[in-house]
Amino acid sequence: MPLVKGGKITDDAFVHVADGAELPAGGSVLVSAARFLENPEALFARSGKVGVTWPNNRDVDDVVPYLDRLGAVALVFPTFRDGRAYSQARLLRERYLYRGELRATGQVLRDQFVFMLRAGFDAFEVKKPADAEAFAQTVRRYSVFYQPTGDGRLTALHRRMQLRHSESAGL
């Protein structure tokens, strides 16, 4: 499953470690929320970054105390029809000001990319290689956005205000 980060396909710096499997001696690891919460300090004591895969039916409040030490948070789309992780993503980015990698995992398909970017995701475990390759072109599909989110894009309402002010200023 290709990982798209920074707009292009890249190698995954994180090793996915299943529950019960042994941790590698060093390097960055991505573990489940359950495993992470069992002993977060032991994980942070290792060399390498710690990432956690957070299920979409668990409040993000429980991960908030660790955000500044986490290398990645992966949010899950069990199917692309299940949109709970969009709310989790916006809360992490906009309310808890999480600045690390925010990864979308699960059934991540091309037609969700724009929504995900707007919700604050910046890394994508893309289901189909063709979708991953089409990433850069897909995210340029839209240039108009009606809602303010934490991604900083100017909304249509505010663009209109700017246009109006520049017109009235005779510019």
């Binding site: 029809r81 299940d82 949109g83 969009y86 309310r95 929504f115 599909r141 209109r160």
Partner: protein, 551 residues
């Protein structure tokens, strides 16, 4: 009329290009049907019994003559020459070919209409009072706020994959014509003691398998906080709404299971953390949207012009005028409802030729504007009263002057088993038979206001629960059986109807309705006691007795 600017046009065009690419990937096999299904639904495309069905949004029920002509063009060019207006201010085309859909969308985009989110588990078309902006006594034009909500909900990055569909309706009049109490979020515009505009917010209404009347979650939310408050509701719903069972996934079930107080607390907690954020609406922003609504400049005209006095001698004209013409906020003007319920016709259908002709009449008599109401009729919102006789003649020629608005043959019905893949029973033929039974306008007038609503399955697209008489078609042992309820209503006093007894067969439905009506005529206290009030006063028992005594 709201006029799209370059920003709105760009978005709609981008959406068309996006969908064109999705259709291309489906046709080439890159997308599976399962993957494509959600994408097409987000663009109003259903796979029905015979073909794809295409649902186009008419936000808050306002159309320009140019837009209506373009809908006629789509009906003619891509469909079979007609369209069906729905109970949620949409129009449906029933025979569209998938490969041609992107072109149909592009044609519509040129006049600023689209099919975004007319189906799927997202926020649907925002509906409002079809008399918005012209009804006497309105607080203010609710379409300003409807348009703000339309923009806010369009391609929302957080709420495009909700547990289930999500519907908004707004009213600004004391009499609710938008059925806000049967919506996921209902908004009633009113003013607080400080004379500031805001909303009573209702939540958790909806029909379907488990009907609920919406409950008030907050009596007053200031206009500037509308979007943040709505976002708080939707965020709570997106996270906690049930996704394990499609029949329990609407917000009404969450509200019911948590209880309105607990749900309100959750929403309040969420809202307090974001109410002063980026969603706060400056007066300037609201003013900008308001400034792009076009309002006609009315002439100063007499209330009773000579033309009207003369025409009053024609009883046919008078029958139509007293039935289909309604008061307007401007003196000398009227709102004219165009009944799409001809005797023997399918409710809510209009041919391409009729749409073109109505567009012409709108240009001539209504400042180029047409409205669509949830009762599946159209309206011309700004007709000078002196033009009423000429307008009537023109409508009559087109078969569009049936004087049955709000009467027993003004039936709301879903497409039913004739088109819909979800249906268990036919709806349209029942409606057609009833319009024939009650074709005599003197009798219909004697009966007075009476709404019949028909759904061909439990999903309740015909809003049968809130019909004064509701008819629900179900399937029992391979046969169509119809359950009859009475006493429902969809207005500000919204209530769910009560079942009168065991279901009846297809052939018996019209007879049963006649029995109910005869019982009402015998039981009503005065000639002006409406059916719905008689049922309220007496309960269902006398009607039950009458219907089942001989069956």
């Amino acid at each position: 009329m709201y006029t799209y600017d370059e920003i709105d046009r760009t978005l709609v065009n981008e959406r068309v290009a996006d969908f064109r690419d999705q259709v291309r990937r489906r046709l080439s096999g890159e997308l599976t049907e399962d993957e494509f299904k959600m994408l097409r639904l987000q663009n109003g495309v259903y796979l029905q019994l015979h073909a794809y069905m295409f649902r186009v949004a008419i936000p808050y029920g306002t159309l320009s003559s140019k837009q209506l002509r373009r809908l006629a063009h789509v009906a003619r060019r891509y469909d079979r020459g007609y369209g069906h207006f729905t109970t949620r201010q949409n129009i449906q085309f029933n025979w569209i070919k998938l490969a041609e859909l992107p072109d149909a969308l592009a044609d519509l985009a040129e006049v600023g209409i689209h099919s975004m989110q007319t189906s799927g588990n997202n926020t649907r078309n925002v509906t409002s009072d079809q008399w918005a902006g012209v009804a006497p006594g309105e607080i203010e034009d609710p379409r300003i706020w409807s348009e703000i909500l339309r923009q806010y909900t369009t391609l929302h990055p957080e709420f495009s994959f909700l547990p289930r569909k999500f519907k908004f309706a707004i009213t600004a009049s004391a009499h609710d014509r938008a059925a806000i109490k049967i919506h996921d979020i209902g908004l009633r515009l009113h003013k607080n003691e400080a004379d500031e505009t805001g909303f009573e917010v209702l939540v958790g209404g909806g029909l379907g398998r488990t009907p609920f009347i919406a409950k008030t979650i907050r009596p007053f939310v200031h206009g500037r906080d509308l979007l943040s408050y709505v976002e708080a509701i939707m965020r709570v719903y997106n996270q906690y709404g049930r996704r394990d069972n499609i029949y329990k996934a609407r917000i009404k079930i969450l509200v019911h299971e948590l209880g309105i107080e607990k749900f309100a607390t959750e929403v309040e907690e969420e809202w307090q953390q974001m109410r002063d954020g980026a969603l706060k609406l400056d007066e300037e922003v609201v003013e900008d949207i308001r400034s792009r609504f076009f309002y006609p400049s009315y002439e100063k005209l007499p209330h009773m012009p000579e033309e009207l006095r003369k025409a009053a001698r024609d009883p046919k004209f008078e029958a139509w005028r007293t039935n289909s013409v309604f008061p307007h906020k401007a003196q000398g003007y009227a709102i004219v409802t165009i009944s799409l319920k001809p005797v023997g016709g399918p409710p809510g259908d209009a041919t391409a030729d009729q749409m073109d002709a109505i567009a012409d009449l709108a240009d001539k008599y209504s400042f180029g504007e047409i409205r669509v109401g949830h009762e599946q009729n159209l309206a011309l919102p700004h007709v000078a009263r002196r033009d009423l006789p000429d307008l009537w003649k023109a409508l009559d020629k087109l078969g569009l002057a049936t004087p049955n608005v709000n009467l027993i043959s003004d039936i709301i019905a879903c497409p039913g088993l004739d088109y819909c893949s979800l249906a268990n029973a036919r709806s349209i033929p029942i409606a057609q038979e009833l319009t024939r039974r009650f074709a005599n306008h003197d009798i219909a007038n004697l009966i007075g206001r009476l709404h019949i609503n028909i759904s061909g399955c439990i999903n309740a697209c015909g809003h049968h629960h809130v019909g004064h008489i509701g008819i629900l078609g179900v399937e029992k042992n391979g046969e169509e059986v119809y359950q009859i309820t009475i006493g429902g209503r969809a207005d500000e006093q919204a209530e769910l109807g009560t079942l009168i007894g065991p279901g009846v067969k297809f052939d018996e439905v019209a007879d049963v309705i006649e029995d109910i009506v005869e019982a009402y005529l015998a039981l009503r206290a005065r000639p002006d006691e409406l059916f719905i009030d008689t049922v309220k006063r007496l309960g269902v028992e006398p009607f039950r007795e009458r219907v089942y005594a001989t069956r």
